[in-house]
Symmetry: C2
Subunit: 458 residues, 2 copies
């Protein structure tokens, strides 16, 4: 029996097993869910063992454990490192869920539950593909190492130290992960580029204390007004970021890349409907997809200062704050951009206020050359597994781990996304399409088999 | 014995009695202090009776009672309506008080307690002045009506309905109140103008839902950025408000008025030190006092949107908010200004966002002609009571009640302020200078006697 036949026979059991996994509320950000986190880790360890992993470990960290599995390693076969995460976002606001977040429910071919798409369901695809190869075809065709963390939703603090401490052990020919989305329903996709991200916090102090806005208004620097004026000077009228030298290192798209993006089966009308704003906006001279995928941005993520409760309070606050982030594209350097942004912010704010500027995090962009063999094998497997044309896409978000792994191991990273753009990851009514789930299991099995068939995939 | 002799003999008792009043935590905004509010009202009613009021009533309202007192009314004597409030602000942050807020304590000639300046101490000045006249001089030289509310710190919701319902009963020749500050220590002051205030809330909606700032960043309208850009367009580079026609009705100062303000014993250096900002700022072409007293302003009082907690969240929020207010000067009309501000805000914000604009309150400016006899009597009494030169000043804040009373009764309002600019009303370590307290009692007694001596004060 082939792995594909095996998968087709076991589809209903897969869904039941995934539901079992999704019922564990492994919310990483709340300490009261610590027992559920442990339960999820144990559950995974057992599944790894039945998916052909010879050694399985649950490795404690300062916060939540990492689950690690390793198949028998044959020197003549390529080695794949699979990454996933078993922790999930909190489910609030609970009242907006049509069915409870931790009671998985299938409606119209979609499986609804917190974690169904991000990332338990997508991770489960790999476990089932490996199990099918292992059980139906008499063993795995490749060497497999699996790293599953429980802190992705809270910043992956301990993952990177684990990687550094186990660099030799984790060596592989490629990293494979599924934690992204397809371009749209029915369009299997491989993500070959992610933007990097720097995150900043700005603190603007005017008066040394909160002042009465009647008694003092008109004569003292109001940090809210000053901060707003500063923010207004961060983009020009074409919505280009005004930070000097911000675009200096940006890799411009070739005509070919532009054409490929234009030719993707992506529907702006549906996108506009989903966003629901009166209009879109963005950097002049670029399409919507280019703006989100290929251009750097500066976005405000939060702002606060003064009185923010009901009714009125006549205050000129002492301090106002903003959180902002820059998304970075090849070949921008996060350290250089952080310096440029800080310098610009300090320049656009007047001397009447004191400014604190903090860099909360920095992260590099990532891009892969998808003409490499492994990507071609991956896309062919997706087309076979789904019976549909597959595409290479970019993604505007950031997965710092990918850029870090690429930089440490110099290996290709293959991002097979089985989510959908409206999957509601981090929001109520998160779902995974079962078509994508089953298509994913088949595609991944085909991909791993193909990698094994031709020896080392480097 | 004269009232002044009587006052000098009773000074230590006055302080003990005021301490008794200040020990009652009559915080109007917290329901758990309701019994203390009742206690404060009863305490006042008893003191009104011993200050020569023939009829004293505690009048319940939908929230906190009004205490009303009335002396015998002789038709040939002028009638004075005295206003005050017995409620106080909460005392938090408690840890910043050097001595507990409701355990009054004298240090270096200042009486520290919540309510010492705002307004229990200043109200007590009038009660003691009336008592001295009543007890030492064989009766009050004027007809007195006293209205004391318990909701000043929460918006005086029920005061105005009480006034309207008792319009005939409250008729008087002048309103007198002490709830303002002196220009500085040793400078007895009468406030003859207050700015009016309109308070607004603006809500800017971009996307219909919160979006991931990586996935969507660069292509959708960010309401924080848009709101900030809107705010940046509300002032020009000379810090003039850009709302068209905003200044049309502003009464410009005469050269004489400008000179009077310039000649006041006010120290910019001390003011700068108190404010503690790196620099001051304001409308070009006007002095600091003119900016705060005589020019209209538009101040941001609050702003919020997106992620405002610790660390980072990569969100483009659906909505961002701002609270703002305009201070108004003669002869600006609050209704007209509210319309102009709304129109301008809607014009400066782009079509890519939806805008909600709410007017939370509106209030007229107030100005009195201090050449009138009653003001001249008041300033002469202050100079006698303090033994110091007194001045007429303006104040940038707003007391809506004053403008309303002036407009309803067409009577002069005399604002005798005994607080100080750094008195910490609404903040920890609120205090009243005992020099101002005793000087105030004497001045007010002299003022009331003088008003009675010459018949109707109209």
């Amino acid at each position: 029996m082939t792995a594909i036949d095996f998968i087709e026979q076991h589809q209903p059991e897969y869904v039941e097993e995934l539901k079992e996994f999704l019922r564990i509320p492994s919310i990483s950000t709340r300490t009261e869910y610590k027992p559920d986190i442990e339960r999820a880790a144990n559950w995974l360890a057992a599944k790894l063992a039945s998916s052909g992993m010879q050694r399985v470990e649950i490795i404690p960290t300062a916060i939540h454990p990492i689950v690690y599995g390793e198949s028998a390693q044959a020197p003549d076969r390529p080695t794949i490192l699979v990454y996933g995460h078993y922790d999930v976002q909190p489910a609030e606001p609970l009242e907006k869920w049509l069915t409870p977040p931790f009671e998985p429910s299938v409606r119209k071919g979609n499986l609804y539950a917190r974690g169904s798409a991000d990332d338990k369901g997508q991770l489960h695809i790999h476990l089932k593909a490996l199990e099918a190869l292992h059980k139906a075809e008499g063993g795995l065709p490749i060497n497999v190492k699996v790293v599953i963390e429980g802190e992705e939703e809270i910043g992956s603090k301990n993952l990177w130290s684990f990687v550094i401490a186990n660099e030799r052990r984790l060596r592989a020919d490629a990293l494979v992960l599924s934690d992204t989305s397809m371009l749209g329903r029915g369009v299997p996709s491989i993500t070959y580029a992610l933007r990097g991200m720097n995150y900043y916090q700005v603190e603007v102090t005017g008066p040394a204390r909160d002042l009465h806005s009647g008694v003092f208004g008109g004569a003292v620097p109001n940090p809210i007004t000053v901060l707003a004026e500063g923010i207004s000077r961060l983009h020009d009228k074409n919505f280009r970021v005004t930070v000097p030298h911000f675009y200096d290192d940006v890799a411009e798209l070739s005509r070919g890349e532009k054409k490929e993006i234009e030719s993707l089966p992506w529907k702006e009308k549906e996108f506009r409907k989903f966003v629901g704003a009166s209009d879109l906006c963005g950097e002049k001279g670029f399409s919507v997809l280019e703006r989100m995928w290929c251009r750097p941005t500066l976005e405000l993520n939060g702002i606060w200062g003064g009185y923010t409760d009901r009714g009125a309070k006549t205050v000129i606050p002492s301090v106002a704050y903003a959180k902002m982030s820059t998304r970075l594209v090849p070949n921008q350097n996060p350290d250089k951009i952080a310096r440029l942004v800080e310098g610009h912010i300090r320049r656009v704010l007047p001397k009447s206020v004191r400014v604190k500027f903090k860099v909360l995090s920095k992260g590099r962009p990532w891009i892969a050359d998808y003409r490499q063999g492994i990507f071609q094998k991956a896309i062919a497997s997706l087309e076979k597994g789904f019976g549909k044309k597959a595409v290479f896409i970019r993604e505007g978000g950031s997965i710092p781990f990918v850029a870090q792994m690429q930089s440490l191991f110099k290996i290709p990273c293959v991002l097979l996304g089985f989510g959908l753009p409206d999957e509601n990851a981090h929001a109520p009514n998160e779902y995974l399409s079962l078509e994508n789930y089953f298509g994913g299991i088949k595609s991944v099995a085909l991909f791993y088999r193909d990698l094994g068939a031709n020896g080392n995939s480097g």
